[in-house]
Assembly symmetry: C2
């Protein structure tokens, strides 16, 4: 397998991106193609022992930053590492693309300039994978489409189900719709119309899912429009990070508290990971015609390596091909 890593993606590029590529090449034995400023990548790569590893560098003269506007960057920077890297996948020179860069830019460059949509897909979706204690939950859309149609949500359900089965190896994934109450009939018009479209599909549909059910692992795939999905993820992030800083502050407040904090450090470290589900780890852009995994900007080498692992799983699970076939088998959705 040949996997492209955007070596200019993370906040601290290219260090974590290159280190993660080296680790991935060593652990998985695949070819990792690092895309970015050639001179800089060679210099960075020289810090690592790479004997016997399948590592390649492909030059890209431009870098997409977190400040670049997704709506203009595709045209403004046609030689970015994202652009060049995705084209390698499009042209068959590689099997998947991994980046810890600007998510909106990646979506735009993938959809409009390079890979384009899988035939039949109305709208691609941004995905978040919430890592719970015993399972993962796939949430989509978390930001690509602020206004959505019921048909798009039905497609998200189909695509999320395929990703959960084929890439995350979940058996018979439970698919739900994010709503403000569990009972049938709850939700806004979009949620109700989407549920009516999803109900007859060959999915393990569990109906409405509230945020608390989601965090209790009550569904494996949860669909929402991109506005609501984004508010969901951002609210959870904001609330946990508020609690974490309140804890830190309180524990510094006096010596007894500090001693308590030291004693219970292992507990805190484990709880800190409970904040991570919303912040780190890679998630696929679903609906674009190629495997694209986006990691968090703050990714370290391990996170990059894990994103490569996710890309491998998506390729091995034939996610793209299965989505294409899956949508064709669902006339209600693909014809609407």
């Amino acid at each position: 397998m040949r996997i492209v890593v955007d070596a200019m993606g993370s906040d601290n590029f290219p260090e974590p991106d290159v280190a993660g590529s080296v680790d991935a090449a060593r652990e998985y034995g695949d070819t990792i193609i690092m895309v970015g400023d050639e001179a800089r990548l060679k210099q960075e790569l020289a810090k690592h022992t790479t004997t016997g590893l399948k590592l390649e560098i492909v030059h890209a003269s431009e870098v997409v930053t977190m400040h670049d506007k997704p709506s203009v960057v595709g045209k403004a920077k046609p030689n970015s590492s994202m652009h060049v890297g995705m084209n390698l996948v499009k042209n068959g020179a590689a099997d998947a693309f991994v980046s810890a860069g600007n998510t909106g830019a990646a979506l735009s460059i993938a959809t409009l300039f390079t890979l384009h949509r899988i035939p039949g897909v109305k709208r691609p979706a941004l995905t978040a994978i919430i890592r719970l204690k015993n399972t993962n939950t796939v949430v989509l859309d978390v930001g690509a489409n602020a206004d959505a149609k019921p048909e798009w949500l039905a497609q998200f359900a189909v695509m999320g189900n395929i990703y959960a089965k084929n890439a995350l190896n979940l058996t018979n994934p439970r698919v739900g719709v994010l709503s403000n109450g569990e009972e049938e009939g709850k939700g806004n018009q979009l949620v109700q119309d989407a549920a009516a479209l999803i109900q007859p599909l060959p999915l393990n549909f569990v109906g409405n899912v509230e945020p608390k059910d989601l965090l209790k692992g009550g569904a494996d795939v949860v669909v929402a429009d991109g506005f609501v999905g984004n508010i969901l993820i951002k609210s959870m992030e904001a609330a946990t990070s508020m609690m974490a800083s309140a804890l830190r502050e309180e524990l510094k407040a006096n010596v007894v508290n500090m001693m308590g904090a030291l004693l219970s450090r292992s507990a805190f470290n484990r709880v800190r990971k409970m904040i991570d589900p919303f912040e780190t780890g890679g998630a696929p852009l679903l609906g674009v015609n190629g495997v694209v995994i986006i990691g968090h900007g703050r990714s370290n080498a391990t996170a990059i390596k894990n994103a490569v692992r996710q890309a491998r799983a998506a390729v091995n699970g034939r996610v793209i091909e299965t989505i294409r076939d899956g949508l064709q088998q669902v006339p209600t959705v693909s014809q609407s």
Copy 2:
């Protein structure tokens, strides 16, 4: 002032409801009218020292439970303590109504059966007051209207602003719209259309507010449609309660952690209050023609007393009258 307390409202009624009424009568010197099963309330009241306090009981033969459907309870239980209590306000026998009962039922009984809407109000809104470290943030709508029109959000902005100023004593409240990004132009169509309507109003409009800004106190009033507002509040609740139980679990994991937990107990107790903003405390139904404060079902006596305090502030601040006048002065909103 005469304030009605629904004595059959809280999960553990009538104990906390009666105890809170007694405390409120003592602390504020107002008349508290407890509505509910007369025999039961007399029995409960006998446990308290009430000499010199202005406490009254008004009989109501039915009780709204948390399981009652808001859409049918108004008709099904016309003699509920909510129904009877709100009618006391409607008929001028009291100034405000406080309940820790079923929020949806209270909204329905207030809007359709007793107080009705303030003239000019398109839709009443459920409000949540998030208690942050140094301030309170009023969020509305958090559940009354799953689908909303831009005009309704503009009215929520006006009503929320008046409540923040007149009842919470905030000076020149910053009013924002919940969105998925701070930049102008972010948000779904509803958010963008609502922002365009709110912009010219005589408010201190700060534009789009993301969940993290909200929790940092970046706005005093945040409007949303009832679906998104509900997802916001429930996501924050779910995330903080997941973190809290993870903490508890980890701290029980071994003896050293437990000792740490004991030593840092005061810190934990303070942090536990950071979870409260989403769960306790009263919040007004805004837009109904009378002061109605709804507390959380888990309210204890102190929470009931605090809800009475909020009701007093709303009455003293002439919130209802000011909303009526405020909407008339905003032709863009009231005519649409």
